[in-house]
Symmetry: C2
């Protein structure tokens, strides 16, 4: 057997400790599969004294995390520090410059700086891998980069944030409202104490930008992703959607076409006949549509120490086997630079829910705004809600350009009839 692949590990949070545990627990099996052992030689984290539940005494401790890049015994640096810039980025640049492999779970850094890092990796002939950055343990980067490599991919979309899916499916199962379920998710450790990145769709947007780049052969374009979260989904939306045969899921959706690159994170109505409607809890799932293979679905745990460590070590095994190449499926210089698509031209069916005052003429006002903007209504439900006296009007439109719905909502802006903002969601087609 050839000599082992030697790892320097930066970051010893739950995922870092998971990688240590995994490499130990499955060492013999990994050596059989990789054709050589994978061994940690040095570790670094902020706090040396913290108990992480794993024995770290046999590894060399390095105080300065970024110094791992120059560690003479390390072939590969694994970065689990996090943050789009700062020490993680410094470490990534230095590692690749030194010609060592670099494996990371850092979606923010790859979404922001992936192109630069891919170029650096190619210049140095080094591996850059980030399977764990998207959808945790699910090998979806590999699925797109390799499994679907023969296909022109028209669309990639999915449930990319486990926290949001946990909250939405709990709201669905128990008929509860967002704030209430969020509080419980926080208490259970399924949501961060500051949940903004998750519930406002930023985390999913990072992942979507990475998937889109690999699927379409375009440069990662995170600033183009329009991200919305689930804060404004109410229990009544879920109930209305269910009546109509849909479930609400926060989806990242990316499409590439003649009008440019479309990337959006937004709650969607998903038909119950679609597999994503049956993805509950913190599970992630990604769908990609290829021109020969059709629709593929990849589903599994999107977070957690075990699944994320599984993806990190899968990358290490690829490197140990010598089975790696350009990080974004093709050389960085051949990735296209696509303009953001004008979503106004995009044709979809929409769900729009208004909370309105209970008085004469409200419905006529909404209907007129829709008509004047050219929105064709497929169904409309008005329902008096309970305690607070507010009334809900939920509209499903026929397929049409998004611009028309946006114009209708613009016409209604500032109307005295509306209570709060309308909730506009797209229907997955």
């Amino acid at each position: 057997m050839t000599k082992p692949l030697r790892i320097a590990l930066a970051g010893l949070g739950t995922v870092g400790a998971g990688v240590v545990r995994l490499l130990e627990a499955n060492a013999a099996l990994i050596a059989r599969r990789a054709g050589r052992g994978i061994e940690i030689v040095a570790i670094s984290a902020r706090d040396r004294s913290k108990d992480r539940g794993v024995d770290l005494s046999r590894f060399e401790w390095v105080d300065d995390t970024t110094a791992l890049a120059a560690h003479p015994d390390a072939d590969v640096v694994v970065e689990l520090v996090g943050g789009s810039d700062g020490p993680a980025l410094t470490l990534a640049r230095a590692t690749l410059k030194a010609g060592k492999g670099f494996v990371t779970a850092n979606k923010a850094m790859i979404a922001h700086h992936g192109l630069e890092l891919a170029r650096a990796a190619e210049s140095a002939g080094a591996a850059l891998k980030f399977e764990a950055a998207v959808a945790g343990g699910i090998p979806v980067i590999k699925g797109l980069r390799e499994g679907m490599a023969a296909n022109e991919i028209a669309r990639v979309y999915g449930i990319l944030n486990g926290t949001c899916n946990f909250i939405l499916s709990k709201m669905e199962a128990e008929g509860r409202d967002f704030a209430d379920v969020l509080a419980e998710a926080q208490a259970l450790g399924f949501a961060e104490s500051d949940p903004t990145f998750d519930i406002d769709g930023v985390d999913a947007a990072h992942k979507l930008a990475i998937l889109a780049s690999i699927a379409f052969g375009t440069q990662p374009a995170f600033p183009q992703v329009v991200a919305n979260g689930i804060r404004h989904v109410i229990a009544a939306d879920i109930a209305e959607a269910a009546q109509l045969g849909y479930r609400i899921r926060l989806l990242g959706v990316a499409e590439d076409g003649p009008h440019g690159l479309f990337q959006r994170v937004h709650p969607h109505l998903v038909p119950v006949s679609h597999p994503l409607a049956h993805v509950t809890g913190a599970t992630n799932a990604v769908v990609a549509e290829g021109n020969f293979v059709g629709r593929l679905l990849f589903q599994g745990a999107g977070a957690g120490d075990g699944p994320t460590a599984s993806a990190v070590v899968a990358d290490l095994i690829d490197i140990a086997r010598g089975e790696f190449g350009p990080a974004f499926a093709m050389p960085a210089d051949s990735l296209g630079e696509h303009q953001a698509a004008d979503s106004g031209e995009r044709r979809t069916r929409s769900y729009v829910r208004f909370t309105v005052e209970d008085r004469v003429g409200v419905l006529a006002e909404i209907a007129a705004a829709m008509r004047d903007a050219g929105v064709s209504i497929e169904s409309l439900i008005q329902r008096g809600s309970g305690a607070d006296g507010a009334v809900l009007v939920a509209i499903v439109t026929h397929e049409g350009p998004e611009r028309a719905v946006a114009q209708a909502l613009e016409r209604l802006r500032g109307s005295q009839s509306l209570v709060g903002q309308p909730m506009w969601m797209h229907i997955l087609g």
Copy 2:
């Protein structure tokens, strides 16, 4: 750009023609992703004159298929001839001996001769790849070999035959019986005129043996797979299962444990909460359970020219990129040789349906046989059926060793009370 990867293509059925179409339609994209073009240089099939709907005039025609192995311009031979032995195997052996790469969709040949071919590939330093052999376009070989490579895999199972799933989900949706739906599936081209390999589970068994080998690091052991099909599933089974919260799916299930390698193809009751319960039509889906990643699901089209061609060309792109290694995830000589597990020790919940004479004492006879064999009954439903006067007794057992159920059925064998054979299915847990 480096020089193209040059292909000799054996077999021009629907999949072969699909590969020709795909390589033409997506040529530019494939060259960007693979770092080089992929070009067909020679083709061979039984009938030169047949119209296959693609222009073959620019390729060199070779009459003797097995001569492709020695073609001086070919780097890789793609075999889409089929058959576990015969010309396909001759071609595989000759190609690998000549040090060329070999890509195939031939599940029967890999299930029977995969170990020998993997050894030959390794001796020659040549690629052997067969993503298309299992679950059509779904990159599940890659998912197990690479995506889950860090995990000890305890179980791999799934819907591996699209014809059977098409028939079962149509029986389910329309309440019809097997023979009736099979005839329609044949008329629609979803089932072969001789459907034996599909409906008796042999096709799924080939695929299962390949998946098990990669998942567990064991030699492919097709002769150990116990294969049963869906011939004896009746509409009433599907209705009873639905009442109990299950759907019936033909599953290939493989487990590796201290008692040996368990491999079985059999109709199962799948809880509606499980994603496989929502897989309908000709779709395939594979689940694998890893000790760190948990449960992963891969789903998509399991057959058809486009999806299968997608998998074949994905293999070619891996080869063009130089990203390949041992076919069964580890060197052939390190694959373990595991005994077939004694399924009697296996603990499951079972569904057993009897068709019985409508007379006094029948239920007591069945109940006594179960009791005497130590089978604990969770629920029992007796239902008079319609026209033919037969009565159904459907039993769901508590978890217990399979041996006990087998013994109960043995006690009832030859009983005058039973009409036909009992139908025994396991409940996916």
